[in-house]
């Protein structure tokens, strides 16, 4: 199959996914309690008059039948019109342009840090003795299992409150990024190391590794040139998934470290029943996910054409 055909298939699939996500949002938002008109008029418990509520309903088309609203909704999305946030009274695209880069930077840094830590763990594990290997395994399991909110709180307690090395709140400086990035990266690093460890062991004891050793290459060189390449494939496969998990982890991390971003916006939008904001942010997250998946697919096609085609 040609690259063009592959791209066309991906694009078609992406559009279907986006449509499904949009539809799920449209239905989901109508299932949760709370009157959207009330959200427009200042949130729950507001004492908006009947006239004000009616005016808000008319302005946002909420008085139309559900089918009409659905078509209007899709029509606007097709024109990339995400509307105005109910709560913030600002265009959704403006808010997204503000918060999205902040979350992407956080997620990319966390991904890079997770990979660096995973490779470090893997290299250490290879050199370790029995006890060291066991200890390393335990650390990986714990790292992979801890929830972000707990890890974030512990890191603040240790590095900010006790040692005073790093700020507890993200203040826009590089130092302020360290703890949020670590909170996101550590669990992922644990997970990636676990994935690599088995295939690394297999690869290092395989015929070609032994042959390379016999040729006189050092253990470390064999690790870098042969073992790691094999071992990292399964982990690389999951990087697309990992990135999207970082985006969801960002909700927690952005709240803990008071960092602006997509996750924090999404949380407050959901609580405020801010439909345009939730729709825009959810669709954008879906789009980012699709892009990253397509990208990892493309990388895999480049590294291992046979595997990708099968």
């Amino acid at each position: 199959m040609g690259t063009l055909g592959w791209a066309a298939r991906k694009l078609g699939g992406a559009l279907v996914v986006l449509w499904l996500v949009a539809t799920a949002i449209f239905i989901g938002i109508r299932l949760i309690p709370g009157d959207p008109a009330e959200a427009i008029m200042g949130g729950p418990g507001s004492q908006a008059s009947a006239q004000a509520l009616a005016a808000a309903r008319a302005e946002f088309g909420l008085d139309q039948p559900a089918a009409v609203q659905y078509l209007m909704f899709l029509g606007k999305l097709a024109r990339l019109d995400f509307g105005t946030s109910y709560a913030l009274k600002r265009p959704v695209t403006d808010v997204m342009a503000e918060v999205l880069p902040k979350t992407i930077i956080l997620a990319l840094l966390a991904l890079a840090a997770a990979w660096a830590l995973a490779l470090l763990f893997a290299a250490l594990a290879m050199r370790a003795n029995r006890f060291g290997a066991w200890l390393g395994g335990m650390v990986e399991i714990v790292a992979a299992a801890v929830p972000h909110f707990w890890l974030g709180a512990v890191l603040i307690m240790v590095f900010s409150s006790a040692l005073g090395w790093l700020p507890a709140v993200d203040n826009g400086t590089a130092a302020g990024l360290v703890l949020p990035v670590l909170t996101l990266a550590l669990p992922l690093a644990g997970f990636l190391t676990q994935l690599m460890r088995d295939s690394l062991a297999t690869a290092m004891s395989s015929q070609f590794a032994l042959a390379a050793r016999a040729r006189g290459e050092s253990r470390l060189a064999v690790f870098w040139r042969h073992g790691l390449r094999h071992a990292s494939l399964p982990a690389l496969n999951l990087t697309g998934w990992a990135f999207s998990s970082l985006l969801s982890g960002a909700v927690v991390v952005e709240v803990i470290f008071a960092r602006p971003g997509l996750g924090r916006s999404l949380l407050s939008a959901v609580l405020a029943r801010d439909i345009p904001m939730v729709t825009g942010l959810a669709l954008f997250s879906a789009l980012v996910y699709i892009l990253v998946m397509a990208l990892t697919d493309a990388v895999q096609r480049a590294i291992d054409p046979a595997g990708a085609a099968s």
Partner: protein, 553 residues
């Protein structure tokens, strides 16, 4: 007069000793260590404030009207009236006020020489523009809108005098006009579109909004032309020492406290009981305890349906729980137990401790008398095969973790006498939804307002009628014609003593009817670093003002 002279003497001697912190508009009871006795005020520096509240979507407190808006707006907007340190309403931007014989015409005269931060002068036109802004449905004001509900029309008599025509006498009007939700903004600024005004409202306060980085901070800078409208000549003029305030939003309580402890921020709000207790042990952090006015925090019992339509069952529930033990174990005694419908800062509140002492034996006998004599397989009481079960939706936005734990203690102790309490933790929208559907038997709903007229909002039968949004304030569903009459008369009388007496009678009816279980004041705790001096001044709704506050070098 004599009293004034004494006050002046006291103040001048205080000034000689370098006391710069005078609680100006304060109704606060500061237990802090950071008052200014130990330092001479210095100008300069930017204070970093960390709020645990959700970031307001609009910095103009006319729009919507919640407490987080009041906290920040108190720095750049001022009101016509305020409260003095004894809880008395005094003029602020206003110079004087008069009411007609029939109580239907209120005249307000403004001070001279006060300007907004856009350079325009404060004139009577501003009173008219602001009240009309509050009453405009497009503003979507809820708190301020209610506060000026009785104002039919505002007439500008001259540059400095406005006349308010009322639909009925309203002796709570000055209290209402003291709240940040009715603060006075520049009429020219109000004419901008709402998004623009929300981003940077223009007032007369000691600071002004410079910029707003969403989800990060609101940046306030000193208003260099600030003219403090000092009502009482014997008081020290409030002074803005700080160059500015960085108003941050740090939603996570543990992070907020860590940032304060490490010196990244200077002041935090929404301080939780455990951190207040540990700060007190540490001894370096200051603590400002500023209970909010209006209603106390209390459980309301829905008297419109079974089982709480029976007063015996209501009393049984109230007697079955031990509030005081919970305040000690969960709040570390940072909250003071209330036996009143009103906040302890409300001078007209009455208390009756005897009604609310825990007494499980009495609870059991009351339930026997009320006919809940069966016990089902799970140990709960039942009548005609129906379990004695009550639903308790709890808003996670409005109840701090310590309070949620307190409610779980109630659940356990009420079970001992045979109540099943079903606690439902809900987000704010779902919680309002449950109330609108009448899907509750117990509820805790805070209400902040200056003055005892909050009693009418909470307990008059009119307040059982839902607004178009489904909202109603009388959650206890008290419908009592005698009470209605008292509350209406109390609001209209021009006699202060009679007003106090009418409100006392009204409170007695509600307290003795076991419609509510008072818990404590609406908690409003601030912690601040040792470098922060002069904390203490607050508005009438207990939101701190950062005039007189300075950062020690």
């Amino acid at each position: 007069m004599q009293r004034n002279q004494r006050a002046r003497r006291l103040l001048s001697s205080a000034a000689a000793f370098g006391i710069a912190s005078i609680v100006l508009a304060g109704c606060s009871s500061s237990s802090g260590t950071g008052s200014a006795q130990d330092a001479t005020p210095v100008s300069g520096g930017t204070l970093v404030y960390a709020s645990g509240d959700a970031e307001p979507s609009c910095l103009d407190p006319h729009v919507g009207g919640n407490y987080p808006q009041a906290l920040v707006a108190s720095q750049y907007l001022e009101s016509l009236f305020t409260k003095d340190s004894e809880g008395k309403i005094i003029p602020w931007l206003a110079e004087s006020t008069e009411v007609s014989e029939d109580g239907l015409t209120r005249t307000i005269t403004l001070r001279e020489g006060i300007t907004f931060t856009d350079g325009s002068e404060l004139t009577a036109q501003a009173i008219k523009a602001n009240i009309e802004h509050l009453q405009d449905p497009n503003t979507a004001s809820s708190t301020g809108y209610l506060a000026v509900g009785k104002v039919d029309q505002v007439k500008v008599l001259d540059e400095r005098t406005a006349e308010l025509k009322l639909s009925a006498p309203d002796n709570a009007l000055l209290e209402s006009l003291s709240m940040p939700w009715t603060a006075i903004q520049s009429p020219a600024a109000l004419e901008r579109d709402q998004a623009t005004n929300c981003a940077a409202p223009v007032g007369t306060g000691p600071f002004k909004v410079q910029s707003w980085e969403h989800q990060q901070a609101v940046n306030l800078v000193r208003n260099e032309n600030y003219v403090p409208p000092v009502a009482d000549p014997s008081r020290t003029q409030p002074t803005a020492y700080l160059d500015g305030i960085t108003w941050r939003f740090i939603p996570e309580a543990a992070t907020r406290y860590a940032a304060l402890a490490s010196g990244e921020v200077d002041v935090i709000d929404n301080a939780q009981p455990d951190t207040i207790a540990s700060a007190a042990q540490g001894g370096t952090l200051g603590h400002l305890d500023a209970p909010r006015p209006g209603a106390s925090n209390r459980l309301e019992l829905n008297s419109s349906k079974a089982p709480f339509n029976d007063a015996k069952v209501r009393e049984a529930f109230i007697r079955s729980v031990d509030v005081n033990a919970g305040i000690t174990s969960l709040f570390f005694d940072t909250a003071k137990r209330s036996y009143s419908l009103l906040s302890s800062v409300e001078p007209l509140g009455i208390s009756d401790e005897a009604l609310f002492t825990a007494d499980p034996a009495k609870a059991n006998s009351l339930l026997d008398q009320a006919g809940w004599t069966e016990r089902d397989a799970d140990g709960y009481r039942a009548k005609d095969g129906k379990r004695l079960s009550v639903t308790f939706p709890v808003s996670t936005n409005q109840s701090v973790p310590a309070e949620q734990s307190l409610f779980e203690q109630f659940q356990a102790s009420a079970k001992a006498v045979g109540f099943e309490v079903k606690i439902e933790l809900l987000d704010l929208s779902s919680w309002y939804g449950a109330l609108a559907e009448h899907d509750y038997d117990l509820v805790s709903a805070p209400y902040t307002k200056v003055g005892p007229s909050v009693l009418r909002i909470l307990y008059h039968s009119d307040s059982t009628v839902p607004a178009p949004s489904g909202y109603f304030a009388n959650n206890a569903q008290v419908k009592n014609p005698a009470l209605d009459k008292l509350l209406t008369e109390a609001e209209q009388t021009d006699d202060e003593a009679q007003r106090a007496q009418l409100y006392a009678q009204a409170q007695k009816i509600v307290l003795e009817g076991y419609y509510v279980l008072p818990l404590y004041d609406q908690q409003n705790h601030f912690l601040y670093g040792a470098q922060v001096k002069g904390m203490g001044a607050t508005t009438s709704v207990s939101s701190p003002i950062y005039t007189d506050v300075f950062l020690a070098k």
